[in-house]
Symmetry: D2
Subunit: 496 residues, 4 copies
């Protein structure tokens, strides 16, 4: 009787890569947990599924965790009052993989022989499975399925005498990406992996020292930006305010994640010593140079396409107009009526400004294309609204490779650029023309002359497939798959 | 020990007038409740505090109500399955005044002698108290404190024979603003008050007829826009699809609310036969003509200031840039740490794009100023971020008068324009210059030559103080206050 | 593969008639709501599904309602603090018929022209539908499906001048059973129907006057028992402590419900000036005389069979022993495993004391048999535990007729005694012998010589089918059914 | 203005020792989790605060835990459907000490190198702190504060090759009381400590093997009682139904807890090969012989005093009557009105049957006296109801010593018998006479000639102070307290 929409509806109209986490910590200030809640709130775009804060009052650590947003869990006086003390650290996460509910929500905590140990981690340890297997063999009992717990067990069983040595001993065994904030009864430590893949910055709030994934969190809590934590740097802060910097991994060339500039970080953050907004606007400028277009309107796909669209408009002289209106009351999936409401899913989020676009030639600007499903629907919405021509420009190179450093990526076979060439992609999204910024255009937009192919200045593996670290767990999984010995096993325990 | 922020923090940074409601109805279609949920979702900006849907399956009416957003209450299959049938109507509301919890959430329903009667109402009845006193005197028992229930009791006690006559009989006694959707076992009726103060449009979804507060709801459910319900028009729709239009109040000149163009409606809606986005952009153009400014950047106060800022930029040639980044993870009030986090409340929502504005002369564009508190903080944020000059342009005339037609307005003494002249307002918000669009500039922007002062084409009472209807309850309250006979009495019953 | 139990499992093992409500009120004391909560808690056995309390603080009425037990809703200081004042009344109810959620939970409240009016009602109005139809015809709008609301509308539309006259005017139109507690801004009124079918007692707590369905509630709150409210009596109590008794219905002979002695009231209550425990023990004594039995153990079906079993044991000389152990952790239905767990449902509540009954001849004593399903299972459990003979004695006559006075009774066709004679009943429950106390035995046990058949001293309609009032709604329903004009209509509005 | 009750109100009127746990397990049957839920429900009296079930489906273990009763957490089909498989074990617990919420709720689970390991434990390990300190020193990370987790870590780090050897290796290091049910991918193991302090029985349900703390759980699930698990016995059950019994601790004389007969077990259970009901009735008989009394009524303190009261009545010939009526709607603490409601707290649970006891000489029978507060109030209630004399007989010896084997006991200084002699106790509870059964009377009642003082047949440490095991943690705490070195430390981590 009715024609069901033949496409799998991506209800949210969200076809983005997602940063998995944000971290925040403060030592030496009053109301440390309240500041941490505010800081995490400013990092909410880095993870919306769960949040946790641990605080230390000089004697005890207390941890509070919850599913959902920071405001859902830490906006009441009661929730903050449970977390007294002058040191606190917190974490927002994008998803709780493994169905383990609150067990995987960070900060993770353990009572070690040397005292309490709490850790918040942004990133992904690419040899976690291998390390875990060894630890369990020796009698370690894991309480979560989080890769972060591997670090705690490595610290717990390290034979070095001091906490700093134990931590460095542990991190030397670890491979992958991490920005860590650690609390012990003696103070706070913050650390980035040797390549500095994930971001971490440092600030000052009165006498207190603050760490955060992005500088915007410093702004929101009223702290001053000091500097970024350098790739491979481990910074110790004591309760008396002493700050000590260590370089336990020597000084390899850094490879920060270039996608922070493209999409992950907020435009008002400073990443790798450059304004993210500036980078995005310049990608639009590069794009206008590399892929000009005979259009009457530059229309951003809101909100992430706006800065590049401003750049494209300024460079091309074509007026910038809101041809798509985005609703911010989105989140859950709705029941889809079967009749009439074609594309309602995506329209709930993105609706055409019909009287503007009708009869016009438009160029759409989006930050990236992942699976392509949303792009296709947005093109269709523009056509349904009467656009005469719909051109599509993308403010990043084609995303053809998965990320193993703490970003949720679909399998390569689901990435549009992983399975199609440019012509096929244009055909898939049904645009009149399609262009991506080049990899060199992207490097220019972030302020460099070009990509140094011998030794790239950023991690750009999602575009190039060049991974800057070993990927031990992945390699072993491929070996096993090749031998057809075992399917990837399910977790052996689940908390219902 | 610490200096508490001396300003009363408006945590949300929200200093807006708020439309109190949105309504949606459908008759003659499959899955009427699911379509209604989607339609209300598209009207969510008109009311976020409560939502209700009533459905009629040919025999029974079922109503489901909840606090919070549409998605919180109507996104599951179970919630929709409880509401079967081919006719449904729903309502979102901004606040549940009177603390009466779910009792005041619409649609309201009553079993009348003639059968079931459900009503969803956007607007405000300005003689509700007077009518209620008379009804109670005759033995009527009210279950809510909503003015809408007065209509139901007037219908229930009308001596006219048919439901249509009863409804018209009731509405003739009522004064004020209303856009109503009524359901009875015989069909649906939709109606706007004689002046058409509140909006209501009509559409077609397959064979079904759809009504909604704004055209964007038609877009999102996939319906076609037919026309607006005319001021003073009452439209009956039967289950067989017959549509009958009535004009029970004759044909007085219309006075739709001009603030729908300024702020209430979504930019992708069509109001009073004109694109709202177009109106807003043209206000910016008028503003650039009336109040030019020597600035380097046009910076919108997001999101509502964006269309006018685009107009201002296009007219003036000054580049449009995102100097303020808005977080969309806002909602609840956070615990305010006492130290350091000066302006954290407003920064949670609006943060400066520091590296952009530093050292620059900027002109901020906002849609309106109500109390002025947010404007003051935003100017301060820009200065803290290093802006060299901060000019402020407002895309509406000064808001100096309360609204009694279904909009939540502060008392006149709290309206910035109700207590200060332009120079004092500029001083209060500490801008380098301040200008508002003129009332004629506003009328030009919505496509008219100028305001017809003898018979204004819109209700603009919030700017001019010229109220197009009697305000009986208000007049009586003033009389009583003048006689010092009685304080405004508390409600005599509360549900805890 | 497995044999599903062929009987419909009555999971709770509860095969009882249920009193529908309990009421409690206090005027003139401190912390009126706290006392009311405690009093309702002592009446919890009269209704477990919902509870409400209204309090009056001299200006406002506040009502708080909830589903579940008193302790679930009124055990916190916050819940009580919302209900300030020196007058309060409350209600527990067995079920919320009509699926209307909290709308039907009492006390009901209305703002009348004369001021606030709150009412708590135990009983059932047997012409409620007829009265409601008339009221709706005149324009009344009902907010609940409760018969009690009819009283409020009759009061609201009465033409008498004083509240007392209005109330009496309303009650004269009403037929059936009621024990009412009414609150107005002038004080409290308590009233029993002319026949006094449902119970109501009066007590004194310091200077305060207290009313309750049973005397046990007076004990628990520490009040002194004054006397019962007489059948047909209306007692007014003012805030200054003045108590006025009225007899608005003349002085018809009383007919209190004899089942209060059999099962409804708690054994430590005084009903109709007699100890309920004493009555129950004497039923056991009469039963031992009328239906002796060659058994080795008297085994009560706990808890309600215990007093009669003590009487039976004392009269017969057969030892009283706990052959069945009852769990008090019962309530919800459990998932029934298909294998092995035969009779697990009833065993969850009643388990055999196997080592006691094995090889013994036992006589089971229960207070009543309604559907017979639990009795059958209990006999089986005793046999499974090895009892040599199982005799069954019932401490009430056969229950063959429905109740229309506020007791939840199955249809006559589901009452075991409504569809079988004694021999068939014995066969159904598979006992070695079965006997019920005679109706005259029951009257003797409650202290009378015998039943006065011309003018019975109690309402015993459930045993005899002799209803002491007209049953207008039932008669009309039968008429309609006979004419096959209309099915019993569903409610026209439901709140999901 | 009002006289506050001078006594600390024990709101619940509960002055009992509490068993801390009950366990249940099944292997080899369909719907293992549903049977486990039913079995735990029958053990609900052993722990009401939390419940958990783990199930194994041949591949994965799934655990579901919750606060509150079994019925609150496991009565829905959904909750059971999450726990598929033919092996399951569960646990009810009295309290979640340590405020750790669900972390301490059993079964506990760990992924060991040898595979999954789940354990449910009833009892208390009296050297847990000492063992935990050693384990943490070696790098173990504890996730709960439960003593049970010590067993898991000892198993995880055991150097023995097989799971059975590892478990025995672990248990040899452990001191105290335990009845354990363990699940691994290979099957189930059930085990009692060498002295068999805590109970555990074994049954058969079709082909499945069932373990439970009490035989009543076997009855309720429909299983056949096989035998008790012997003290010091470890029983392994494989999925093919093979049952192997081990005696890893040799054959020391058993010391089961005699308080299971006095109060903990349900009267319809069989403990140590004897009917609990029979034991309790015989305590009443012994008591009547040892401490006769010139009374007119034997009144049990319900419910636990009933069997002994029946014995006392049968032996003495004084009639058994319900002089106290117990409400089963108890649980939460209520707000105590300050006026009038003297003793309302205890009356909520225990109310006098005034018309029965007025003017009578009565003898009250209770199972035990712990703090004495409830006994005092009950005596007072009887006097307030007009009893002429109130004698008190206790069906256990004076409880003067704490329990360290899994029973929640107040400190010795709060035990009435720990701080007073008989005369003072009588004075405290204000009875006309007071007597306890003798220790030899108690041993006779459980079927023995007398207590063997050289080698007692039961653990009766709560009466005698003779503890059958070392109490290492307690001894060390005393040492530390003696040296005044350290206060008892707070836990270093809390989950808020």
């Amino acid at each position: 009787m009715s024609n069901r929409n033949p496409l799998p509806l991506d209800e949210d109209g969200d076809d983005k890569l997602h940063e998995e986490c944000g971290v925040f910590g403060i030592i030496g200030g009053d109301e440390a947990a309240a500041v941490t809640a505010l800081g995490l709130h400013a990092l909410q775009h880095r993870g919306q599924e769960a949040v946790g804060i641990s605080a230390f009052d000089g004697t005890d650590f207390v941890t509070r965790r919850g599913l959902g947003h920071v405001a859902d869990n830490f906006s009441t006086g009661d929730s903050i009052a449970e977390l007294p003390g002058h040191m606190a650290a917190g974490h927002v996460r994008y998803s709780t993989t493994g169905g383990a509910g609150l067990r995987n929500v960070q900060p993770l905590y353990a009572d070690l022989a040397s005292g309490g140990f709490a850790v918040a981690h942004n990133g992904n340890i690419s040899n976690a499975s291998a390390l875990k297997a060894e630890l369990v063999q020796k009698g370690a009992i894991f309480q979560s399925t989080s890769d972060t717990e591997v670090i705690i067990h490595l610290v717990a069983t390290s034979r070095y005498p001091t906490m700093l040595d134990k931590l460095v001993d542990a991190l030397r065994l670890v491979e992958g990406a991490y920005a860590l904030i650690v609390m012990t009864p003696r103070g706070m430590a913050a650390c980035r992996d040797p390549l500095g893949i994930r971001p971490l910055v440092m600030g000052k709030l009165g006498d207190a020292v603050v760490f955060a994934s992005e500088s915007v969190a410093l702004d929101v809590v009223g702290a001053e930006f000091t500097r970024q934590v350098e790739p491979g740097e481990l910074i110790e802060v004591d309760f008396d305010g002493t700050v000590r910097s260590h370089r336990p991994f020597g000084d390899p060339p850094a490879r920060p994640c270039i996608f922070e500039h493209v999409y992950f970080s907020r435009p008002d953050s400073i990443f790798n010593e450059r304004s993210v907004y500036e980078s995005r606007k310049h990608i639009g400028i590069e794009l206008a140079k590399e892929a000009p277009c005979d259009a009457e309107l530059v229309v951003p796909v809101p909100d992430s396409g706006v800065p590049a669209a401003i750049g494209y408009s300024q460079q091309s002289g074509i007026p910038f107009e809101l041809g798509i209106i985005r609703s911010h009351y989105v989140g859950r999936t709705f029941i889809q009526p079967s009749d009439g409401a074609r594309h309602a899913g995506v329209k709930r989020k993105h609706n055409a400004n019909r009287m503007l676009v009708e009869g016009k030639k438009i160029v759409l600007i989006d930050d990236s294309i992942v699976r392509g499903t949303t792009s296709m629907k947005i093109v269709q919405i523009m056509r349904d609204a009467g656009a005469a021509e719909v051109h599509f420009r993308v403010a990043s190179p084609p995303t053809g490779h998965g990320c193993y450093y703490g970003v949720d990526t679909p399998e390569r076979s689901k990435l549009l650029a992983g399975r199609m060439d440019l012509a096929a992609m244009r055909e898939f999204i049904k645009a009149d023309s399609l262009a991506f910024v080049t990899i060199d255009g992207l490097y220019r937009a972030v302020g460099l002359a070009k990509r140094d192919n011998a030794c790239p200045q950023y991690c750009d593996a999602c575009f190039t497939g060049e991974y800057p670290t070993a990927l031990t767990d992945l390699a072993r999984r491929h070996e096993r798959d090749a031998q057809l010995v075992l399917p990837v096993s399910k977790p052996v325990h689940k908390v219902a």
